[in-house]
């Protein structure tokens, strides 16, 4: 039993170095993605037949690729695309899925049943396959990657939030809100949502990474972003052919991808601690 309130003067996040690292990485990634033009020394898509497959040097920090394009500039510009994929592809399912989960969990009954059946059915398509089918129907391209991930991605959030709602529905403060005579809408949005959304948000942080990976997989299957748009997964995929003689083409985007992924995961982990502690 916890009959004790723990008072803390130091904000919880400050005691979590991992969380701080996560924040630093993500913020840096976001900054990069907002202002690639100030960092990247070259045009990321400009072909230069005089500098093909140049090894990393002062002129080209990360070397050049088979088109003579500056890998550093491409990697920097790719941050924008990848973050976009990660964030856009996550945010819509986060919102839509959370709302569906909220409604289904709270009202239960038929609404819940229908939603869960839909999810059951869609879940029997393996995720990757479903995305591929949708991509082939819609055609290649960024926008369609989003749509495909949206169509599939919301279910995880709906399930997650629904589960939380089912637990929370019986929490005494929700009962208190009902006893107070608040409307369902108010209970759902003011009382329920802020408490259930945190785990969805935490999940979203790691989902960002998975969405970026899905984007990369699509590039691999030839369904990804349109070349010559720089995207880490696409660069990795294109650079595979040169792995033995021009490692830099793939090494750096891989590194950036891993670091960004770690950043988001750390952020998510940290958020868990942060949000949970706040709740207690």
């Amino acid at each position: 039993m916890m009959r004790h309130a723990k008072k803390r003067e130091i904000p919880i996040w400050a005691t979590k170095p991992a969380f701080i690292v996560g924040i630093i990485i993500v913020v840096t990634a976001i900054l990069i993605s907002f202002f690639p033009q100030f960092i990247a020394p070259y045009d990321p898509i400009e072909v230069n037949s005089k500098a093909i497959l140049v090894a990393p040097s002062a002129e080209h920090f990360f070397g050049t690729d088979n088109f003579g394009r500056d890998v550093f500039s491409r990697v920097i510009w790719a941050a924008r695309i990848d973050l976009q994929i990660g964030v856009f592809a996550t945010i819509v399912p986060l919102i839509f899925g959370s709302l569906m989960g909220l409604i289904a969990g709270y009202y239960g009954g038929v609404v819940d049943n229908i939603l869960m059946r839909i999810i059951d059915i869609l879940m029997t398509f393996p995720f990757t396959i479903l995305v591929i089918v949708i991509m082939t129907i819609l055609g290649q391209g960024m926008r369609n990657i989003y749509i495909a991930i949206w169509l599939v991605g919301w279910m995880a959030y709906a399930k997650l939030v629904r589960g939380e709602v089912l637990v929370l529905k019986n929490a005494e403060f929700i009962e208190a809100a009902r006893v107070t005579g608040f409307s369902d809408k108010r209970i759902l949005l003011r009382h329920m949502l802020p408490n259930v959304v945190s785990s969805a948000v935490v999940f979203a942080a790691s989902d960002v990474v998975l969405c970026m990976l899905t984007g990369a997989s699509m590039s691999f299957l030839g369904l990804g972003v349109q070349p010559p748009t720089p995207e880490w997964g696409a660069i990795l995929n294109e650079g595979r052919a040169y792995i033995m003689n021009a490692w830099w083409i793939t090494f750096f985007p891989g590194l950036f991808m891993a670091i960004t992924g770690i950043g988001f995961s750390l952020l998510g982990d940290g958020l868990t601690d942060f949000l949970r502690t706040k709740g207690k």
Binding site: I121, I129, I132, T136, L210, S217, S265
Partner: protein, 312 residues
Amino acid sequence: MNGLNYILKRILQIIPVVFIISILIFLMLRAIPGDPARLVLGEKATIESIDAMREKLGLNESYIVQYGKFVKGIVSLDLGTSLTYQRPVIELLRSRVKITLMLTLISTFFSLLISFPLGYYAGKYKDSMFDQIVKSGALAAVSMPSFWIGLLLMILFGVKLRWLPVGGWGNTFIEQIRSLILPGLTMSLLTSALLIRNIRNSVVDISNMDYVDFARSKGISERAVKNRHILRNALISTVTLLLMRMAYMLGGSVIIETVFSLPGIGKLMVDSIFGRDYAVVQALVMLFAMIILMINLLTDIIYSFLDPRVKF
């Protein structure tokens, strides 16, 4: 009784799900642009020959008739003939299902092998150096595309060390197992990372439970505490997660199978989608649906077996 109830219910549920899936996939396939006949004949085909082919393939019939044939096929267990391979679909599936299943099993095995010790000790020595390293390693593994990791593994173990074949599928059992090691490992990395996280957190949580201390207070060995109490309980959520991942791995095997050039159903699925091989895609989707429904059912059964508190 409850268990029986549950299983009956789940089995009955499969019927409408499969039915709806069959409609969905039928329509989705027809929504994809691209003419199968044309694909079969290739770019140098003339318009008449394409039309002849469409006639031959029954693509000129109405959707209702086509769907009817499809359903009739399923019911009579005749999955039709592959357009691209000109073989009965069922025959195509036979060898491939085996490959993908073996791949999934091997990577499941690797996942367990990797994640249990790492996860357990990371949880036990929470916040230690070891924990930090395992955690960041897991995070890094999650954030790199599998085709890339697979490539690195191939270069290291296939080209440089020459321990294992670079992709491909063997004829003898030993060869086949050998050729599944690298893809299995690649595939298991993401799952391992997820499992490690789960196990670590479970171990941390469970170690805090009174029953662990109570078990210790009986004076039993630390190993018994670990196996009987901590791991046994950590297994519950882990196995559920693992089985969920298995379903995912089955579908996500596409990329691994392509990279490692394994003729499994993942790759077949993608090739067939690209090749508009309706019969194969339809059959595969139904197969996937069945497998996943089975895995779900199995998950629930295993779950209730592992956790006696759960009464469906």
